[in-house]
């Protein structure tokens, strides 16, 4: 049965056996995954990281005609401060005892009156979740009153240890809306590009790439429009950008509406993009057009590789969500560079194949699993070293303090051929001039010598249920 029918979505730890803590060699992690027993571990020392609430709020803020109500204390709203169509219920201590239903109702009325949105999403916070406010009843009642999609996103910041569970919760709530909005079972041309974290510029790059093989696409749930949700169940196929997040949506669309789901790797790096494009063209029967484009990129790759010739042997540390990280390793290798270590924000059973492929070449590669745990990276980086650290929206000052330059891809489009060229250029610039990292490394370290001398896995323990 499709998860779309279920009112509540189980967390990723339960759905996919996701783990958030590991430190050791890649081969051992692969062995766990291969035997289907990724071991849930916990940290007895941890550092703050984003929760499902922030991921959900950020994703929702990209939907143009959607108004957002954050149901919680005012501070939970900080990630949305400049989002145009967002308000917070502003729960106080009194509300945390007596409940905040009235404030929720008033805020929904207010946001609809002020912004006339196409839909409203209510994002739940820890205080509201613990209160056990009957937000469902308020949402259902106002939904009827306004005849408007009003969805309740069940984020709480404590049920799942994975922040990306927030993207799943948003996708799940909006998929239920597409099912409600569906007007006809008739298939329309065009595909839906499943996006939860990509930048607008990356989406633009990929849309243009798809257009070169005659495919038109629109995105969901990121950058979608509420008045477009009815189109989702009618598309001829759904396509993953990052399967780590897209698999859930793609499989749900197939289970519910029998929409074929296409997942052909990530369009990261020149080879990765070519494989994505040719894989996609093969599935959609447009091989010739793709082959011409792919062939034309070989020369580009040769030129970029020659630019890196004076940095041959440079070691790169990669820190990113799992599928993006595996693809970045591919990009690093196609540039003729090496990988000294890897941080994956989490790992689940779906990554077994990718882990196997990488482990067959680099079983000894040091791997950390965790999001935002800079203290462990500081420890590991001192042991394995690196000429450059590539991360995606992660802490970086601990890396600079060691004297390693950083490339954070959060502000840099990195998908498609254009993205690969941009990343290569940015890597080259950082390798050319490491002065900032060198200067910062001459300061003091905030972690104790005792910790830096310990094994990286020191604070990772088996979870006692």
């Amino acid at each position: 049965m499709s998860v779309i029918k279920d009112r509540r979505l189980p967390i990723r730890e339960k759905r996919d056996g996701a783990i958030i803590a590991y430190a050791g060699q890649l081969a051992a992690l692969h062995a766990e995954a291969g035997e289907g027993r990724l071991v849930p571990r916990i940290r007895t020392f941890a550092q703050d990281t984003r929760s499902d609430l922030q991921v959900a709020a950020e994703l929702l803020s990209t939907i143009r005609d959607l108004a957002i109500v954050v149901h919680g204390p005012a501070g939970c709203f900080s990630s949305l401060r400049v989002a145009e169509h967002a308000v917070v219920t502003g729960l106080t201590e009194r509300d945390s005892i007596l409940g905040g239903d009235k404030k929720l109702r008033a805020s929904i009325h207010q946001v609809i009156a002020q912004h006339r949105p196409g839909a409203v999403a209510v994002v739940c916070t820890p205080v509201a979740a613990i209160n056990n406010d009957d937000a469902d009843a308020v949402v259902a009642e106002l939904r009827d009153e306004y005849g408007l999609p009003i969805v309740f996103i069940r984020t709480d910041a404590f049920k799942s240890k994975l922040s990306n569970n927030g993207a799943d919760l948003v996708a799940h709530a909006l998929l239920r809306e597409t099912s409600i909005a569906r007007k006809s079972a008739e298939r329309q041309p065009g595909i839906v590009l499943i996006s939860t974290r990509e930048s607008e510029e990356d989406i633009d790059t990929l849309s243009k790439l798809l257009a070169t093989i005659g495919v038109t696409a629109f995105t969901f749930p990121r950058y979608s429009r509420a008045d477009n949700w009815a189109k989702v169940p009618t598309v001829s196929a759904s396509l993953a950008i990052d399967p780590s997040d897209a698999d859930f949506v793609g499989h749900a669309l197939f289970d519910e509406f029998e929409i074929p789901y296409v997942s052909v790797g990530l369009p990261i790096g020149l080879r990765g993009t070519s494989q994505w494009l040719t894989g996609l063209a093969r599935v959609l029967g447009k091989t010739t057009q793709a082959e011409e484009l792919v062939a034309s990129k070989q020369e580009v790759l040769d030129t970029i590789r020659s630019n890196f010739s004076r940095h041959k042997g440079a070691q790169i540390y990669v820190s990113a969500p799992p599928d993006i990280a595996f693809s970045l390793v591919g990009l690093v290798e196609e540039l003729g560079l090496g990988v000294s270590g890897l941080t994956l924000t989490y790992v689940d059973k779906r990554h077994e194949t990718a882990l196997a492929q990488l482990a067959s070449k680099r079983g000894d590669l040091p791997v950390l699993v965790g999001e935002g745990q800079a203290f462990e990276e500081a420890n590991l980086l001192r042991k394995v070293g690196a000429n450059l650290y590539i991360g995606v929206d992660c802490p970086v000052s601990h890396v600079l303090r060691i004297g390693i330059p950083v490339l954070d891809l959060v502000g840099l489009p990195f998908y498609g051929y254009a993205g690969a060229e941009r990343v290569a250029e940015a890597m080259l610039r950082r390798l050319e001039n490491t002065a900032l990292a060198q200067f910062l490394s001459e300061g003091t370290e905030s972690y104790s010598d005792g910790w830096l001398a310990k094994s990286t896995h020191w604070f990772i323990k088996h979870e006692v249920k």
């Binding site: 703050d48 984003r50 922030q54 990630s79 308000v87 219920t89 209160n131 950058y223 203290f375 003091t444």
Partner: protein, 451 residues
């Protein structure tokens, strides 16, 4: 009261965390659910603030990351574990446990855990800062008071040999220029021979706080500095001067020196001489700007949207020295009723006699006020950028949250700050004029080509 669009002031936890982050060698330990600290840095993190712009940045902050198990069964043992391990992992002189909403709701006995750590001679203090208890300004004020109460020690009550003043009331994360302003005020007070305990910023440590009781006085620069200054007075007898705002320009800088000198019984000549020097210094630099200010019609009707301390300072300088027409001041830090009379008096006395003054943090209300007044220039935050755009007027970012301004040690305080403000003000107007000239030129070309 629905605070639904009060989106600029964060929560008490953010104020407390930013205070702790501004003291070197003081290590915060956050006892809360995941992600609670991230908003604390949102006020200056432009990437975080852009919708769809990548989310909030992580910081290296020790945290218990409470999970469902702890929400149900309590999080004290997790906190005990985190305190113990933070001492092993992170270098610091003092460790401060800060509690967010969840432990307060579930009733964790945080004090027992902190007591236990202290009994083992670990230097641990605790601050209760649930987000639902107030905004970041309030959280800062309560946290500063708690630090005075827990860090300042009785055996350091011997006064410093040099005359020394503590500074209270500038709020990291909320006052955009707090760091630079504290440094400028330190330099200002040095003109009359005072040393300064800035307490926050570069080189300020728990040791600086411990020694706050050895100062001869404290200077309070906003209502948010008063609880800590009062605590210091009540417990250790350090008197305080409730100045109430950030002095921008030579007049207010001189006023502050006069008050401090008089409180400490210094010879009047010292303050007068310093005032004279400040006036001369500002006049020297304003002469460089005079052609722009006087001959290019740079006398604007201005609206200011900011927290009380900087709003008063800017308003008094722009109006009282620079001759600008400050017609609207919107005070956004949600000050209590009993502080409003003094704020109004400071604004009226400083030259902004006719300015309309409103106390609100609501973006919706502020937008409506700005639309109604239609000032020629807005001094405010990134939240006013849209309405400035709509009204087609320039905006200078002087308050948080900021989207287009990097603010590390920028200052608008004293003479150097006032000079920097004048430079920024003229630059914004010049860029605006240039932008419009280009627009007019391209419109003209379109028309010519159309003919």
């Amino acid at each position: 009261v629905i605070r639904s669009d009060h989106d600029r002031n964060g929560c008490a936890l953010h104020g407390a965390l930013r205070l702790l982050d501004s003291i070197e060698s003081l290590v915060p330990i956050l006892h809360a659910s995941a992600g609670c600290s991230l908003g604390a840095w949102a006020s200056e993190d432009s990437l975080a603030l852009m919708p769809g712009g990548g989310g909030l940045r992580h910081r290296e902050l020790s945290a218990t990351l409470l999970q469902e198990k702890q929400v149900v069964f309590g999080g004290t043992s997790r906190l005990r574990e985190q305190i113990k391990n933070t001492l092993k992992v992170v270098n610091g002189d003092v460790y401060a446990v800060v509690t967010g909403c969840v432990p307060e709701v579930i009733g964790d006995d945080v004090l027992a855990m902190v007591k236990e750590a202290r009994e083992q001679t670990f230097p641990v203090v605790s601050l209760s800062a649930p987000g639902f208890s107030g905004n970041a300004w309030w959280g800062h004020a309560q946290a500063a008071k708690a630090l005075v109460s827990q860090l300042v020690v009785q055996d350091s009550t011997q006064l410093n040999e040099d005359l020394t003043a503590n500074l209270f009331g500038l709020v990291p994360g909320q006052d955009a220029t707090w760091d630079g302003d504290l440094l400028e005020l330190e330099a200002l007070l040095a003109l009359i021979g005072l040393k300064t305990n800035r307490l926050l910023g570069f080189g300020q440590t728990p040791g600086t706080w411990r020694n706050a009781s050895r100062s001869h006085t404290s200077v309070v620069l906003s209502p948010w500095g008063r609880p800590a200054a009062e605590e210091l007075r009540d417990r250790f007898g350090v008197p305080f001067i409730d100045f109430g705002w950030i002095p921008v320009g030579s007049k207010d800088a001189g006023l502050l020196l006069g008050k401090v000198a008089s409180t400490l019984g210094l010879h009047t000549d010292i303050a007068e001489k310093a005032k004279h020097h400040l006036d001369n210094e500002l006049r020297y630099y304003l002469k460089k700007a005079s052609s722009a200010l006087l001959s290019e019609n740079v006398q604007k009707r201005i609206s200011i949207v900011a927290g009380s301390a900087i709003a008063i300072g800017l308003s008094r300088f722009l109006s009282g020295t620079l001759g600008q027409l400050v017609e609207q001041v919107i005070i956004t830090d949600e000050v209590e009723e009993n502080s409003r009379v003094a704020i109004l008096a400071a604004l009226r006395a400083g030259g902004a006699r006719l300015a309309e003054v409103t106390f609100t943090a609501s973006r919706f209300d502020i937008t409506a006020l700005l639309r109604k007044t239609r000032s020629e220039v807005i001094l405010g935050s990134a939240l006013e950028a849209d309405v400035a755009d709509e009204l087609s007027v320039p905006i200078l970012e002087i308050s948080t949250p900021m989207l287009t301004t990097a603010c590390f040690r920028r200052s608008y305080a004293s003479v150097r700050g006032a000079t920097a403000l004048t430079e920024d003000f003229l630059a914004v107007l010049a860029r605006w004029e240039q932008h419009h000239r280009q627009d007019r030129r391209s419109n003209h070309l379109v028309q010519v080509k159309g003919q």
